[in-house]
Amino acid sequence: MSGKPNLDRRGFLKGAAVAGGAGVAGEARAQATAPAVPKAAPPSAAQLASENDHPGEAEKLTEEKSGSDFMVDVCKTLNIDYMAACPGSTFRGLQESFINYGANKQPEWLTCMHEEVSVGMAHGYAKVAGKPMAAMVHGTVGTQHAAMAIYNAWCDRVPIILFTASAGPIEDRRPGVEWMHTVQDGAATVRDFTKWDDYPWSLQGFAESTVRAYQLATSQPQAPVLITADGKLQEMELSKAANAKLSIPKLNHPTQAAADPNALREAAKMLVAAENPVIFADRYARSQKGMDDLVRLAEALQAPVVDQQNRMNMPTTHYLCQSARGGALLAQSDCVLSLEPQDIYGQLNKMTDQLERKTGLKIRQTTKVINIGTHDLMVRANYQDFQRYSPADLSITADPEASMPWLIEAVLKEIGDRKPAFDARGQKMLQTYKGFAARARADAALTWNSTPISGARLFAELWEAVKNEDWAFTTPNNYSGNWQHRLWPMEKHYQYIGSSGGSGVGYEPVAALGASLAHKDAGGRLPISIIGDGNFNMAPHVMWTAAHHRIPMLAIIQNNRAYHQEVMHIQRMANRHNRNVQSAVIGTTMTDPNVNYAKLAESYGAVGIGPITDPNDLGAALKKGVAAVKAGQPVLIDAVMQPRG
């Protein structure tokens, strides 16, 4: 080829060394090896300026201690175990302080590949550990990435200690990116769905605001909080004298707000007088004690409990756990007690998704409604997660878990001669309960051999693989048919952590990652997640973070090769318009090509198994996966499954 440039390799390298030799060492090397005139283009004016812009001899270039070191001191007083982050230069001072000055311990820095993972894993972690972890997100763009995960945690009333950063005053910002990643009010992006935020203007302010933020995040109703760490504060030198003037306030651990005793007495009278009371438990239990207390209340009243499964509220092995017939119980009830409801209107009313959206009561007009919750303590105007207004006969604003012992005491005082009637009611509940398992097994048998694999088959095979382990589910059961609640004995609070809160897609893999970390720290429980393929594709790199940080987790992909909820929505619109119902798969499915999730997991350093298409292969795959998780590895099993159930 006549026009081929004469690129002698040695000469090219010499020229490149000179052209790129912005640093002193590089320049020295180039002079030693290339005394001849370089063939590369001469340096530009900017490069020359850069090379000649050496700091003066007297200019101080290093510092012993910085503001970010003090920020680490503050965080260490709060016993935060982990700080999850996708790297971002606005918090470079803090990150270096955490890993060097703070020795990368309490908190330990966790590397995530997206801010949604950092926040989402903190969401899942808090629900298992019972305390928050921290996440740090890059200024502006990181907060934007993190927003959906923060919204999920807000809707789910879960505490997260969030940090973001900003480059500081204009005279300290480098031109270009530092301006684009700086914002006057960094929290504005997420203020509608955080409980509190602050941009402290001093290190003392950082200390007080961070401790205050932690206290607020962990008080009921719990929620994420956000502190902006100013870039100049992070990187400013902190002299010994200045450091000595700073103080870190002690964290308050306030008691949670229990209910007005008079209101609880009134509630007890209504419940005892009722012939058909029913207890609805939504985001009620935060602990095993919360579960145990609910059992005590239910037994005192011999009243059925419907667990809405947004937390683990009621053991599935208890005969008063009657979640399987919540609709019938509501229709018959004369008194409903709703514990920490997120949507009491939706509990008591129905609405059809037809052209005309008809509404109707699920209860009788005369049914008394008692609600105990913290919903009204944290309502904002813009995002509509507060749901439709619904009247109650007795609305008690309080933390129901903190209030439960007093409610039980009030009920026991009121029972009097009602006990025989309660015992008779309990016997009926027991007889009904005995039929649940047989019904569940008959339903499960319907698709035992079906391909794609059914949810019932998956959970039956899964039980066989984990029945001798200390297992826990780290994802909700929205789309897998609720089979663990129908078939499995679930008795411990940590065995199920409920749903995403805000239904933002992508919660499942990230929450599973954080929850699995908490289960590891709790002594090595076996964490199980059932993750929809649409959900998983939002953050498949959770498998890398799990592998890198040695977090064992069993991730089973419920692979229906679609955003199936959306398939059904598009189908519904086509039906409504009497148009082609076969086109609902356009824009909603993930086929041609099919994603190979096992290979994807392997590429991130995890164990990948599958795709499993034959239900008869599932048992062996699960056993293999469980063995690998017990050996400390993150494992993904790709199960090609029915879209629902």
Partner: protein, 118 residues
């Protein structure tokens, strides 16, 4: 319309196929079950799912009840009118649902009998 035409119309009305009296084609019914969206809520095996739709395999509905549910759903089910699902197609789907194989008995599936061990 003359008497002859009325009589013909009446004859045609009474000659309308009764429940599934078209030469129902279960294979064609399966094709439409899979392509027209039935499986989306009821599962590929018609087993149903808690949140989306009941079991319809080996349906206990008569064809008339089945057709009425398609045209005027009692629940939140999306309506299937004649324009997108002719009676003949509905009949084929009905035949497919009726012909679905009987599932195994739960008592023959030991894995369904979970017992606590820890």
């Amino acid at each position: 319309m003359n008497i002859g035409k009325i009589a013909l119309a009446a004859l045609a009305f009474f000659a309308m196929p009764a429940a599934s009296s078209w030469a129902a084609d279960a294979a064609n019914g399966k094709k439409h079950f899979d392509n027209d969206g039935c499986w989306q809520c009821h599962g590929y095996g018609g087993q149903g799912a808690l949140l989306t739709g009941p079991q319809i395999s080996r349906t206990k509905l008569t064809f008339d009840q089945f057709l009425h549910q398609l045209r005027h759903p009692a629940s939140a089910m999306a309506p299937y009118e004649e324009a997108i699902m002719p009676d003949a197609t509905a009949s084929d789907i009905y035949a497919y649902l009726e012909a679905m194989p009987e599932p195994p008995q739960a008592k023959d599936l030991p894995l369904l009998y979970v017992t606590k061990s820890k």
